[in-house]
């Protein structure tokens, strides 16, 4: 987990951080896609075997979403394709950002999204009924809260992980 929580004092690749509206724009797209996954998942019967389950439309769309979360979590939010769309098409039409954000919080949110959606996808492929719909619904709520309410998931989860002892200092002197 420590790889997901980089030191904020380390200079980010962009010196002044990112436009916080970029990740919220991406979360809006993700929320809409996840809602489509839930809709498809509710109306489709569960595939009979692994191949059928992998190829049903809801699973295909969720696979794309999982891949996009992995991109954001491992390459960093600044390299996410939604960020490129935002910078090319949206940001030039908006006023310059009044504040800039460190890329670590939205990158952490991508990792959380990846864990939730990948778990749902794996359980779905294993044939667990409802796993895809439940995971997509949970991820939808997180993406919706991010997009609409600018809800800071990392502000809540980090303390819980520390208090549960999941996150620990590897070097106490650090």
């Amino acid at each position: 987990m420590s790889a997901a929580t980089p030191n904020p004092n380390v200079t980010p690749s962009q010196p002044f951080g990112i436009d916080p509206r970029g990740p919220r724009f991406g979360a809006s797209i993700t929320a809409v896609l996840l809602l489509i996954v839930v809709l498809l998942g509710l109306t489709e019967p569960l595939g009979a075997d692994l191949v059928a389950r992998a190829l049903q439309p809801s699973a295909l769309l969720l696979t794309v979403i999982v891949a996009l979360f992995a991109w954001g979590a491992f390459a960093g939010i600044e390299k996410h394709p939604y960020g490129a769309i935002y910078r090319r098409l949206i940001a030039p039409r908006l006023a310059p950002p009044t504040e800039r954000e460190h890329p670590a919080p939205p990158t952490f949110a991508q990792l959380v999204g990846l864990l939730v959606t990948a778990t749902g996808l794996v359980l779905h492929l294993a044939g667990v009924p409802g796993a895809l719909v439940v995971a997509a619904s949970a991820a939808f709520i997180a993406a919706f809260l991010n997009a609409v309410f600018a809800y800071c998931l990392g502000c809540q989860l980090y303390v819980l992980l520390v208090r549960l002892g999941v996150l620990r200092r590897s070097n106490p002197a650090a």
């Binding site: 997901a4 919706f144 800071c152």
Partner: protein, 148 residues
Amino acid sequence: MFRIFLSMDALTALIVIVALVALATVLGLTLRARGTRVASGCGGDEHQLSVEGAEVTLVQLSSPVCSACVAMRRVGSELAAADPTVAHREIDVLDEPDVARRHSVYSTPTTLVLDRDGHVRSRLIGAVKPADVRAAVDAARTREAVAA
């Protein structure tokens, strides 16, 4: 049983979708309503965290993955820069997990307001408005009301 849950007709599925959006909206409004607040009369001592010579020390517990912490850092450091009797320091909750446990800190940023004796006089949860931070600081300057 899961045949009912899954492969439902399109209308029922749409109703579930609308309910999901409504649930997320209610959740968002609830979280926003209790997102920032000031908890007073907290008690407890954190001498080791108070800055010597300062009348009031703001100890901000932060995490590296928290965007609201940056906003709170700005408020705290500006207050400390404008008023030499106020000190602001920020620590990673990972460095002080026991402090988080002692003061029931469940989210970052949470800022402990310490008086000159190192007593915790209030807790600021979230990125609190500058005026509310000032009010909490001024309250911590006054002698603690001691019963008997």
